[in-house]
């Protein structure tokens, strides 16, 4: 168990270093001088020189990288070039908004996804199963931003039930969370079904039935816990993808979360902000996946007692 955790932590540290490196490269392999690109034609050479100095891009690359990593560790990545606000405080503000939205849609996706997947597995081969899986594949194939617009048209414009944009009242969360969560709910439902079907073929499920366990408990208690590992793996990746995917939804509902920050920074080519958003979204993603991997130990006693990988 300890070995497993240690191994996993080492790997994470390595990946985190890799991420800083990749993000750093990202900015520096932009064809042409990044500052020039950022300022486009607005700048005269003098100004470019000045901005370079401000951002520290006139220093040699290795030194720049070390400064960047130092900044990343100290949570200080300089100021946005355009708004002059510290990058970290902008990120934090955006992150809180997005995290709330993502958390709600995650809950939505997990509840709907797991219960529909279980239901489909229980009713395997029956019309309920085919129906649910058809809906799931439809949900997986529809772009979230399009679902968002359709929801806006139906519930905001035609029925006039729910607000069209913003996040200033609790009701506002409904449409964005559904739009963001649908795709994930659909894929959770699919993997839950597959994993459950795999598990219910196992001998211990037959043992449970032979003991006289209620059919519902066979599924909930005996099968689900065993089916959970692939589901949890998916959940981890998805929570991260949801943070990133929320930028599409944020655009539709005019929400100023971290996604909007990322898109704006890239369209404005605001160098420090681009670095900051990309880096920290990736870091959050990696940390979530780490937590997921460690949570396997809670599910699977083989990992807990040090046998499995």
């Amino acid at each position: 168990m300890l070995l497993y955790i240690a191994k996993r932590l080492c790997q994470t540290v390595f990946v985190l270093v890799g991420i800083t490196f990749a993000t750093f490269c990202l900015i520096n392999i932009v064809p042409g001088d990044p500052v020039q690109v950022m300022l486009e034609k607005r700048a005269d050479p003098e100004m470019i020189q000045q901005v370079r100095h401000e951002l520290g891009t006139d220093k040699p690359l290795p030194e720049q990288y070390i400064n960047f990593v130092e900044g990343a560790v100290k949570f200080d990545l300089g100021k946005s070039y355009f708004s002059k606000e510290p990058v970290m405080s902008m990120l934090l503000r955006g992150f809180l908004v997005t995290a709330k939205l993502a958390a709600i849609s995650f809950l939505f996706a997990v509840t709907i996804g797991i219960s529909c997947g279980m239901l489909a597995a229980i009713k395997r081969g029956k019309p309920t199963d085919s129906f649910l899986m058809m809906i799931a594949i439809l949900g997986m194939s529809a772009p979230s931003f399009w679902i968002a617009i359709i929801l806006q048209i139906i519930f905001g414009l035609k029925l006039n039930l729910l607000p069209l944009s913003g996040l200033d009242q609790p009701l506002c969360y409904i449409l964005p969370s559904i739009a963001l969560g649908t795709r994930y709910a659909a894929s959770i439902a699919r993997i839950t079904r597959t994993s459950m079907l795999d598990v219910i073929k196992q001998d211990y499920i037959r043992t449970a039935r032979a003991k006289g366990v209620k059919e519902s408990m066979v599924f909930i208690k005996h099968a689900l816990k065993n089916a959970l590992i692939p589901i949890v793996t998916l959940l981890g990746t998805q929570l991260g993808n949801m943070l990133a995917g929320s930028m599409l939804i944020e655009k539709v509902f005019s929400i100023s979360g971290i996604g909007k920050l990322a898109v704006d920074s890239m369209t404005n080519r605001d160098l420090p902000l681009v670095q900051g958003t990309v880096l920290y979204i990736a870091v959050i993603f990696v940390v979530i996946n780490l937590i997921v991997d460690l949570s396997y130990a809670l599910i699977d006693p083989k990992i807990r007692y040090g046998k499995g990988a």
């Binding site: 211990y204 039935r209 006289g212």
Partner: protein, 328 residues
């Protein structure tokens, strides 16, 4: 001699409907078991032994499997007419089953203790937590698991195959069933453990007056525990007799073959002959007797017609050789 049947199976047919065709895993099988007696079911791999037991438990996976005909009378009541809830109350409580695969039959994510407790709490809801735990521990002791308190909190992967099988037995016995179905309970175990487990099962028969069905392809096991023996071949009963009769005077050529097959230390090695050929697969089942292609005494008639199961006194045999002797 008339005994009260605890279980009576009549003309049971369990078929599997697969893409390649219908597999008649159990085809018109009838037998009965009485309290304090053990029925042994023998036969080669794939002849439908496990499916027979699973049919009694009503645990046939549907689809593709289905019990298409017959009746299973338990204490005179037809199990096939029971609804799901009634069946659930019977499973684990009145009828318990020990499965063939000890390595995979325990749920890997729950402790041994939790898994024994579960069946006690389902069928003995009147027991409080402490009493149930007492009982579960007592079961572990009964099946000779060393350090039961410690094992109680361990997970299946921490136990050896033999121990897991004993845990399975503890689970099966935890609610004192009066019918115990054992599907090759000792195949996966080494000889000493095997002997201990058979003893355990024999004890149960004597003390609790339970009826036992013991499936195995090991005739050594049969000779130790069984009172009656049923020999199956390709889904059908080919011979039924008491254990003494079977070993003293096997009738069906297949049974003779099987008995010649037992590797026994005190007999000559030459006797260790095997039956040539293999069990036919379901889609190349011969028209007549399923054993005919492998039978040294088969005639043209055997190849074309399926013999009936004929009564010869207390015994039954499915072979043309004994036709006309049923009146004796």
């Amino acid at each position: 001699m008339i005994r009260d049947n605890l279980l009576e199976v009549n003309h049971l047919k369990t078929y599997f409907y697969t893409d390649e065709g219908v597999v008649k895993s159990v085809d018109d099988v009838s037998f009965s078991v009485q309290p304090s007696r053990t029925l042994g079911i023998v036969g080669e791999s794939g002849c439908g032994k496990s499916i027979t037991l699973l049919s009694i438990m009503r645990l046939i996976e549907n689809p593709p499997g289905k019990i298409v005909a017959g009746e299973i009378l338990y204490n005179g009541e037809n199990l096939l007419k029971k609804n799901k809830e009634e069946m659930r109350q019977i499973r684990g409580n009145n009828i318990a089953m020990i499965f063939q695969e000890p390595m995979t039959s325990l749920n890997p994510v729950y402790t041994i203790g939790e898994q024994i407790l579960e069946s006690i709490s389902i069928h003995r809801p009147e027991l409080d937590k402490g009493e149930a735990r007492e009982r579960a521990l007592a079961m572990l002791k009964m099946v000779n698991i060393p350090m039961p308190e410690k094992r109680f909190n361990e997970y299946p992967h921490q136990l050896s195959g033999g121990m897991r099988q004993r845990v399975m037995i503890a689970i099966a016995l935890s609610c004192e069933p009066d019918l115990l179905l054992c599907d090759e309970p000792t195949t996966a175990l080494d000889v000493t453990v095997q002997a201990q487990i058979l003893e355990l099962i024999n004890d149960l028969k004597k003390k609790a007056r339970a009826a036992i069905i013991m499936v195995t392809h090991d005739l050594g096991v049969i000779s130790e525990v069984a009172d009656d023996v049923m020999v199956m071949y390709a889904g059908k009963v080919v011979e039924f007799a008491t254990v003494d009769q079977i070993f003293a005077q096997p009738m069906h050529p297949y049974t003779c073959g099987l008995i010649n097959c037992i590797p026994s230390l005190d007999k000559e090695v030459e006797r260790l002959s095997t039956i040539p050929g293999m069990v036919p697969s379901f889609n190349e089942m011969p028209k007549g007797c399923a054993f005919a292609p492998r039978c040294s005494r088969a005639t043209q008639r055997c190849k074309e017609n399926m013999p009936e199961l004929i009564d010869i006194g207390e015994r039954k045999v499915r072979c043309f050789l004994y036709e006309g002797k049923d009146t004796e």
